[in-house]
Amino acid sequence: MLIINAGLFIPLFFQSLGGEIDNTNLSLGGVGSLQWSTYLNNNMTLGIEGGGMFAFSPNDRTLFMLPITARYAYILRAYPFEFPLSISAGFNFTRLSSMFKILPIVKPGVSAYWNYSPEWAFGVNFFYWWTPNLYLGPEPPKNHSRFGNFLEISLSALYHF
């Protein structure tokens, strides 16, 4: 099946290695992604997802993150609805101004789909983005390490082959 998603990207907070929570200073952003999955059995799918987000800093710098992840989903069904519980993991190509780094990313989430026809379903996703931005020093120093926490709320269209 092929899934296309588009929606809002909500910056939540940054967390330091010491556990302190701080504001991301990012604006509300936009997110979109394309996902291909195949059924392993009646309730489980495995696939690949590529997408991207943008959001703006207070001085209008743009943060871009382009994650490429492998995605596993377990589907709960209550016809005509489906509720995939998913987790994605992969790599997150992150750019801010001239800074660039490839970060790991984990995206747990839940979706709700309404099956419009045997081929098409429409729904909404709630994906939590957890992406560590870690440094060992000396530049950038270790105390610049942060865990990024974001929320994706997106609308989704699903097509069954």
């Binding site: 940054f14 800093s57 001085n59 790599f91 660039f100 950038p140 610049h144």
Partner: protein
């Protein structure tokens, strides 16, 4: 059916193996040479306080602080010439003075003998103009239109002009004799900086340093030879040996005979006895573009980098300890990521002129270790 499933699973397994190999390879080879963390940078960022000067302008020339018409003003070359009042408040609007040459870029600004001189060029038309008595527009008379003036220097009450461009094979230094710009005798050198140390006139080209003890007079300086040139067999000081790519000079008015020289290949040099002896920093691996003094410190503008402070240069002759400014400096990425090509010090106020992020102001008056930065 099982055979088909096994085949599909085999494809999936191979696909994910390939995917992980490619991504792992990218991750392994991707290097980051950033100086700060990406998320950390966002976390620290704050909205810059912003005055009305366009933020995308290039600072193309000098800056002045002058009292004209009973009003204390800043003037700055930012493509066009802009000015604003100082005394009314720091958020008073900048005003643009319409260029006397269509699409003219202002390259130099200097006050001599009560007149403010401004050099303007659009590449094909050139000019040297005076501002009118109220300092709000140009006088119509073009005082010099022969060649493009790239810099103006007001030294000891005298006006000097560096004429010619890097594409021009005969650049020269000119002197204003009261009615005309006349040759000084320094030709074939593109002068980028000038200073008056209380006794001597100093001029720096990219690889040359000139020292002159008197004015050129009507017949120009005779037989002017560089005080120092890169590659000369017997430099006046071993500390100068091998130094080149000079970008700016600063003579400290509080210490006559003291001169600072910076270079785009990372060195800072200092003399306290009008050039008899010199000290040099080690290679800072920075591209220094401009040097000045503010808040009792020597401060440098650096290309592809940021403003740097030399906190111990004046009293301890320490040219090696450089620091990033404090205060909210590190919360303003448009400032600390900027290419700072000009720095201007006015007491406790420092201005940093950039190549694409306009003009920034650091107010050191409250706390020298924690200046308040804002964008003009």
């Amino acid at each position: 059916m099982n055979v088909i499933h096994d085949t599909v699973r085999g494809y999936i397994r191979n696909f994910f193996s390939f995917f992980l190999l490619v991504v792992g390879g990218i991750l392994f080879f991707a290097c980051s040479d950033d100086s700060e963390g990406i998320f950390y940078s966002l976390e620290q960022e704050e909205k810059a306080v912003d005055n009305s000067l366009p933020n995308s302008v290039v600072i193309t020339g000098d800056m002045l602080k002058e009292t004209i018409d009973s009003e204390e003003r800043y003037y700055v070359c930012a493509g066009s010439l802009f000015y604003r009042t100082v005394t009314v408040g720091d958020t008073t609007h900048w005003r643009k003075i319409k260029s006397p040459i269509d699409l003219g870029i202002v390259s130099g600004l200097a006050k001599v003998g009560g007149d403010i001189f401004v050099s303007v060029s659009n590449g094909s038309k050139h000019g040297l103009f005076r501002l009118n008595s109220t300092g709000t527009s140009y006088e119509t008379v073009n005082l010099y239109n022969t060649r493009e003036i790239t810099r103006l220097f007001a030294l000891n009450g005298n006006l000097f002009a560096s004429a010619g461009t890097p594409l021009d094979d005969t650049p020269e230094l000119l002197w204003w004799n009261g009615t005309n710009l006349v040759p000084t005798g320094i030709t074939q050198y593109l002068i980028k900086a000038g200073a008056w140390d209380g006794t001597n006139y100093w001029f720096a080209g990219p690889s040359d340093l000139f020292q002159c003890t008197s004015l050129p007079g009507e017949n120009s300086w005779s037989s002017v030879t560089p005080f120092y040139s890169y590659g000369m067999s017997s430099p006046p000081s071993s500390e100068l040996e091998g130094k080149t790519y000079f970008t700016d000079l600063f003579a400290d008015p509080d210490y006559p005979g003291t001169l600072y020289l910076c270079s785009s290949d990372g060195y800072i040099l200092k003399t306290e006895d009008s050039g008899t002896t010199w000290i040099s920093s080690s290679d800072h691996n920075k591209s220094f573009k401009s040097i000045t003094k503010a808040a009792g410190m020597i401060i440098l503008g650096a290309g592809t980098s940021v403003i740097r402070e030399l906190p111990n240069a004046i009293l301890e002759d320490d040219l090696n300890t450089i620091e990033r400014p404090g205060g909210n400096f590190s919360r303003l990425p448009d400032l600390y990521e900027s290419n700072v090509i000009r720095v201007f010090g006015f007491g406790d106020i420092l201005f940093g002129g950039t190549t694409r992020n306009g003009l920034w102001r650091g107010d050191y008056s409250t706390d020298v270790s924690s200046p308040v930065w804002s964008q003009e």
